[in-house]
């Protein structure tokens, strides 16, 4: 096996205090009772490090909901992994920050929904914004690395300039201006959340000006959304090539949204060693390399640059995970993208902004 993973995304739980309509978690959320336990996660982290993983991201849902988070951070550091917490920051109290720091946590990424409090709270479906700002300040004071993440969509993208200013004010070292990825809950809300082309053009201009202005002070990460470009995103730099995700119930996924591919069966860390799953499993090998590719990918000179795009998106939009990602203008299904952006333009002119909030698994299952 020539590839080894560099990054592990540990989705500790699907429980979350927020209800963001752009969430890319699956719409079938896992209940608390089915989550991996502390010892199981400790073993997973250890096995990941043995396999070559260097970075661990603790995510969810909201990872702070797990009381054993500090123990898991300690296990990750003990195994030599770099540790990132990806959080809503709800529950990130001074005591919790101290506990996590002592356990070896190195970096915190806090999500913000907008700069303006009432809009941010409306998107989050909870009174959260003020707590997030306070938590960001505490993280900064503690000396941990601070990244902020704004997920962009039609309800907040017009405020991009102010969102970047807020990140500056909070002293973040890095800000991700992430495009909504149309999976899970976000896919349900695609019509109401997708920006218009004019908004995307304006956002790109603002992001690139801010990048130049803040060079050396704050790193800005902005990527043109694939629905508005000609070529697909090089999803995770190839299937089963650099990253793996373990979901709350222990399923190992080549991509965090791979559950969107009904045709694949994913192995579970409760039944198989991580190394076997990475090296041998059908799910990890199905789209590795270039052999599986159809035309126009097979003879495309970009096939090892963009890897045919995103398998989950191909499955979601065409029903066939082995088809070319429809965001590529060479895809026979590319018209689906034009139809989706046109539908969003139409809804935007009608000024409709109702959305389906993400639910909480505990509210459904407990």
């Amino acid at each position: 096996m020539s590839h080894r993973p560099y990054g592990l995304l540990a989705e500790l739980t699907h429980r979350c205090p927020l209800h963001c309509p752009y969430c890319s978690n699956p719409t079938q959320l896992s209940a608390r009772e089915s989550e991996l336990g502390t010892a199981e996660w400790q073993r997973v982290l250890h096995e990941a490090a043995e396999l070559g993983v260097l970075q661990a991201g603790f995510s969810g849902g909201e990872p702070l909901i797990r009381d054993d988070l500090a123990e898991l951070v300690r296990a990750a550091r003990g195994a030599g992994l770099y540790t990132n917490l990806i959080t809503s920051a709800l529950g990130l109290t001074p005591a919790r920050i101290r506990e996590l720091r002592e356990a070896g946590l190195e970096s915190v990424q806090i999500s913000l929904q907008a700069d303006e409090p009432s809009l941010a709270d409306r998107i989050a479906g909870a009174k959260a914004h003020a707590q997030k700002l306070e938590a960001a300040r505490l993280v900064r004071e503690s000396g941990l690395a601070l990244s902020l993440n704004f997920v962009l969509h039609r309800l907040n993208i017009a405020r991009l300039e102010s969102m970047i200013s807020l990140a500056e004010e909070l002293g973040a070292e890095r800000v991700e201006l992430a495009q909504t990825q149309w999976y899970g809950w976000a896919f349900l809300n695609r019509e109401t959340l997708m920006p218009t082309r004019a908004q995307i053009t304006e956002a790109a201009r603002i992001a690139s000006a801010a990048k130049a202005r803040l060079a050396g002070r704050m790193e800005i990460f902005y990527v043109l959304p694939d629905y508005f470009g000609d070529r697909p995103k090089p999803c995770l730099h190839g299937w089963g090539r650099r990253f793996l995700t373990v979901n709350p119930t222990g399923e190992v996924l080549p991509c965090p949204t791979a559950r969107a591919i009904p045709a694949l069966r994913f192995e579970n860390v409760r039944e198989r060693p991580l190394r076997w799953i990475w090296d041998e499993s059908e799910s990890f090998n199905r789209f590795r390399g270039t052999e599986w590719m159809p035309e126009p990918c097979q003879s495309c000179e970009l096939r090892e640059i963009d890897f045919g795009g995103c398998r989950c998106q191909a499955a979601l939009l065409t029903g066939d995970p082995a088809s070319t990602d429809p965001t590529c203008s060479l895809s026979p299904h590319h018209h689906l993208i034009g139809e989706a952006t046109a539908a969003a333009e139409k809804v935007a002119t009608e000024a409709r902004d109702g959305f389906v909030p993400r639910r909480n698994p505990s509210a459904i299952n407990e």
Binding site: G80, Y82, E106, A145, S147, R174, E219
Partner: protein
């Protein structure tokens, strides 16, 4: 090369960690959301970036350790530090 570049004291940026990759046995830098695989020169330079040594002392230490001399080593070390500074992984 400027005089300043030889008298500055480079250190790893906060929250950046130097580690040996157990798969390749080579040095890597770990930082939020990223991994940088280093070549041997960069690894040796960074081991000496302890917040005490100047660039000139780092070059002297490497010269002694690898029995290397001259401009080539100086050029390599300065280029390596400039690149890492450009990526905000080293501060001076």
């Amino acid at each position: 090369m400027s005089a300043r570049s030889l008298t500055s004291v480079p250190t790893l940026a906060a929250r950046v960690r130097l580690q040996i990759d157990r798969v390749t046995g080579k040095p890597v830098l770990l930082y939020p959301e990223g991994v940088l695989e280093l070549n041997e020169t960069a690894g040796e330079v960074l081991k000496l970036c302890d917040g005490q040594r100047t660039v000139a002392k780092i070059i002297a230490a490497l010269a002694a350790e690898f029995e290397a001399t001259g401009d080539e080593l100086t050029t390599d070390v300065l280029a390596c530090l400039a690149e890492l500074r450009g990526r905000n992984l080293v501060t001076t």
